[in-house]
């Protein structure tokens, strides 16, 4: 190949500068804030103060894990059934699946709250039918329900994309060799859809563990998750440093778990991506 033109040599420079200034520098500054006090002197205090937040970390991880597992249990069969439909029907259902992803998370959470709230539709129905009102908003179940409801499409779509690309002959071969439907699902489809599952799990787990709107609205203020805690620290200049320390720890935890999960899928995940 001939020498590269000036345009080709310089083309990536603006982006490289942008990435250093606005991707790398912010992360360095988070580290700086995490290891200094509000006067800028170096300290480990913020990190050691984090032990006081252990229960919040544990609670958030539990909520996010439960929501992810429920999403997987509901979402996998849905993706499987979707991929077995005729192409035309598939297209319609994929649009139906994507529509909620396009509606703002705020709106979806808010509408769920309107449905479940004390004076909401569900309770009006219950009392009209003569049942006692159910207190749903403000329970841990409501927060988890909110996560499942908000992020379920993010679980289904990558799994579905992977499954719909599978060669139909695999399934025919399996049934020819005497596999029934359930066995085909577990022995053929499931192992082949690991990359889709990994990307679905990450896409549900990461926003679930870092959310603050869902817990604010559906938790009724009785649950403090990592997201809520971080958000609160950044409302007041004096707590920026501890907020930075919490963010840093959460980021490291998430990067580690994403890296571990990606080990499962080798590099096949790339296929799902594009």
């Amino acid at each position: 190949m001939k020498n590269r033109s000036f345009l080709e040599k310089a083309a990536a420079v603006p982006h490289a500068v942008w990435a250093v200034l606005f991707i790398l520098a912010p992360l360095v500054i988070v580290c700086y804030f995490a290891f200094t006090d509000s006067y800028g002197t170096f300290t480990f205090d913020n990190i050691s103060l984090l032990t006081g937040y252990t229960h919040i970390f544990v609670l958030s991880v539990c909520f996010a894990l439960i929501a992810t597992v429920i999403c997987l249990l509901i979402g996998y069969p849905l993706a499987f059934f979707l991929s077995r439909l005729s192409p035309r029907t598939q297209k319609i259902f994929v649009v139906l699946l994507m529509l909620p992803m396009w509606i703002s998370l705020l709106i979806r959470t808010y509408s769920l709250m309107a449905l479940l709230d004390n004076g909401g539709l569900l309770n009006s129905l219950l009392s009209a039918l003569g049942f006692a009102k159910a207190k749903i908003v403000g329970t841990s179940g409501a927060v988890i329900l909110g996560m499942v409801y908000d992020f379920l499409p993010y679980m289904v779509l990558p799994i579905y994309t992977g499954l719909s690309k599978l060669d139909i002959h695999y399934f025919e071969a399996a049934s020819d060799l005497g596999c029934n439907g359930v066995k085909t699902l577990f022995r053929v489809a499931l192992p082949l859809s690991v990359p889709g599952i990994v990307s679905g799990v990450t896409m549900v787990f990461v926003p679930s563990i870092s959310t603050f709107y869902i817990s604010q609205k559906l938790g009724g203020g009785s649950f403090d998750l990592i997201g809520d805690t971080i958000e609160r620290q950044f409302q007041n200049v004096s707590t920026y440093n501890i907020g930075a320390a919490i963010s840093l720890v959460m980021m490291i935890l998430i990067l580690i778990s994403v890296a571990v999960m990606n080990r499962f899928s080798d590099d096949e995940g790339e296929e799902i991506m594009v």
Binding site: K2, P14, A16, P100, L112, G119, P207, G243, E270, V274
Partner: protein, 276 residues
């Protein structure tokens, strides 16, 4: 088995849509209550359009989404060109991995880190930084960039390199070759990157929440502030309107256009899939 799977699908979709349908239905309820439906009315829609704050927020949102997606598309397309022609593999991998950081990180961390960057910048008194349109533009462009590069770079990699050589042999200058030969070939990727950036920017709440100021509010920030304390039924109308617009756009893209549904949201579906 077949009926069972059909029933399962319908139930899940029904649950997925129930809250949205309720919201849309009660946005037409004159009584402004979820307990009883009095009369069908557009009262809350009129209330919404009387609310100048909402209209300003909508204008801000569109303004920000257009400028950040255009800026990200220009920088990102150039970056894809540069990455495609880059000789050093190490530099290429380094740039690519740094670019992917905002996609892997939870939004709240990206938001917080951007906010701290600006706070630190403000302490240097010679930099005229204040929260508002400028900081939001920088933040939105940053999270749009990886999506633009992700949709443009494959186009460069799939392009027949002989076309470019032919153009150069026939006397085109390199710059002219880029605009006349290469750009038309990568255009579908550029357009889908632009549209993806536009919608991501329009939809973003978490990152904006940390880098905005009260005098530059976008629509999601406005919804957040309005829903913080009490239920406002004009918000139902706003949400219902958004649902209608999105539904219309989706139908248009999927059924009027000939291209499949995976052009738009699908790359986001792979959000974290690209870590490997």
């Amino acid at each position: 088995m077949k009926t069972l799977s059909r029933i399962y699908m319908w139930v899940v979709f029904l649950l997925l849509y129930a809250p949205i349908l309720v919201l849309v239905l009660f946005s037409f309820n004159r009584a402004g209550s979820l307990n009883h439906f009095s009369t069908f009315s557009l009262y809350w829609y009129r209330e919404l359009f009387r609310d100048t704050e909402a209209l300003v927020a909508l204008k801000n949102s569109l303004y920000l989404a257009v400028s950040s997606s255009v800026l990200a598309t220009v920088i990102g397309t150039l970056a894809a060109l540069g990455l495609d022609r880059m000789k050093s593999k190490a530099v290429k991998t380094a740039i690519k991995s740094v670019t992917n950081i905002p996609m892997m990180n939870p939004d709240i961390v990206t938001g917080v880190s951007m906010m701290l960057l600006f706070v630190a910048g403000m302490s240097l008194s010679f930099l005229p930084i204040r929260f508002g349109f400028g900081t939001m533009l920088v933040a939105h462009t940053t999270f749009n960039l990886p999506y633009v590069i992700l949709s443009v770079l494959p186009r460069f990699q799939q392009m027949d390199k002989h076309l470019k050589e032919a153009a150069l042999d026939l006397g085109c200058t390199p710059t002219r070759t880029f605009f006349r030969v290469e750009l038309p070939l990568i255009l579908p990727g550029v357009v889908s990157g632009l549209m993806l950036g536009f919608t991501l920017s329009l939809d973003d709440f978490v990152i904006s929440h940390f880098v905005s100021s009260p005098d530059f509010q976008t629509l999601p920030l406005y919804v957040y502030n309005q829903t913080a304390h009490e239920v406002k039924y004009s918000m139902y109308a706003l949400c219902a309107l958004m649902v209608f617009v999105i539904l219309g756009l989706l139908l248009l893209v999927n059924f009027a256009g000939s291209r499949g549904p995976k052009t738009k949201k699908a790359p986001r579906a792979g959000k974290v899939g690209g870590v490997a």
